[in-house]
Symmetry: C2
Subunit: 196 residues, 2 copies
């Protein structure tokens, strides 16, 4: 029985559309894998971009492949404050009316009209594991993350069910990882809490 699962921290990153990849890196440019990700065929590329807001910019932001229909920039609220941006907290892909920014690559710039979000925390899980844990797509969980100095119960963890080769992992951003004192080996556990 699946009792705990890894909590993985997503640092700031960007997913590019074909069109924006062309503008930033040149026509028809192909991203090169640097590090494989847990989803088959997904990788952190060797390429990086700068994210530019009205107050400051973040250099060396990782580009995640493969390309997508729409460019999506995922940052933390700490990053947002630094940049002077006000992105909404959203599930990946839900970009309508989200924040704008400028992106700079080695071959050009993109004025992104929407696509900047803070990722809503979620539990990535296969159909099989979801059955075992008795959780449903879109369900809102509470997950206990224990650490030496600052344990947290994360509420509002959304279940995202994928194919059967999907590794189970909870995804949080760097602010969330820091607030709970998470390390590379931190585990989460679904809890039901009762306030007494």
């Amino acid at each position: 029985m699946l009792k705990t699962f890894p909590i993985e921290t997503s640092a700031r990153h960007i997913h590019l559309s074909r069109e924006d990849c062309d503008k930033l890196f040149g026509e028809g440019y192909e991203l090169s894998p640097m590090k494989e990700l847990f989803e088959p065929g997904h990788f952190v590329s060797v390429e990086h971009v700068s994210i530019i807001g009205p107050r400051d910019e973040l250099k060396d932001v990782s580009v995640i492949a493969p390309l997508r229909e729409q460019t999506q920039v995922e940052i933390s609220l700490s990053d947002a404050r630094r940049l002077g941006l006000k992105p909404p907290i959203r599930i990946s892909g839900d970009l309508a009316g989200s924040e704008k920014c400028k992106i700079r690559g080695p071959k050009g710039e993109v004025e992104l009209e929407e696509g900047v979000i803070v990722a809503k925390r979620h539990l990535h899980i296969s159909k099989k594991d979801a059955k075992e844990l008795q959780v449903q797509e879109g369900q809102n969980l509470s997950v206990l993350a224990e650490s030496a100095e600052r344990s947290v119960v994360f509420r509002d963890v959304i279940v995202r069910i994928g194919p059967d080769d999907f590794n189970v992992a909870m995804h949080v951003d760097t602010d969330e990882a820091n607030a709970a004192g998470l390390t590379q080996n931190s585990q989460g556990k679904i809890v039901e809490i009762r306030y007494v």
Copy 2:
């Protein structure tokens, strides 16, 4: 009956010793108040310093008055990562063996050998309110902080009892505030949780 209390977010800041204040701002320099703080006689000064680590630096860091016995730099783990520092998570004043950094002011620099910490979250409370809430100095609480998208139960909230003019407030750093989606008006509530 006191049911909820404000959760206040402490952005990065520094407390200076007389000696370090002299080095940074000049012999006998007096800090000027910009904004009063909740503890009587404490204020955010108009003066600022830069905090310098091996990877990067943070400009315009607020100096909090009055002066203290020992200089203390309070940053978030997001700040620490950016600076390339590894401060421990500590209650204010517990500085032995904590992280080092360089501090730059308009008149000079200080090589701080220890004093950089990430503040351990805590509940500031008067003796009177502590009696009402039935909490003791040093007690470890769980506090529910609700927000639209990412509610959190903060565990490991330490009770710090002060004089009777002490306003009750929970203090968190910017990572913790961001992880819980806190706003300026967020309230916390002591909860006892039972896992079912």
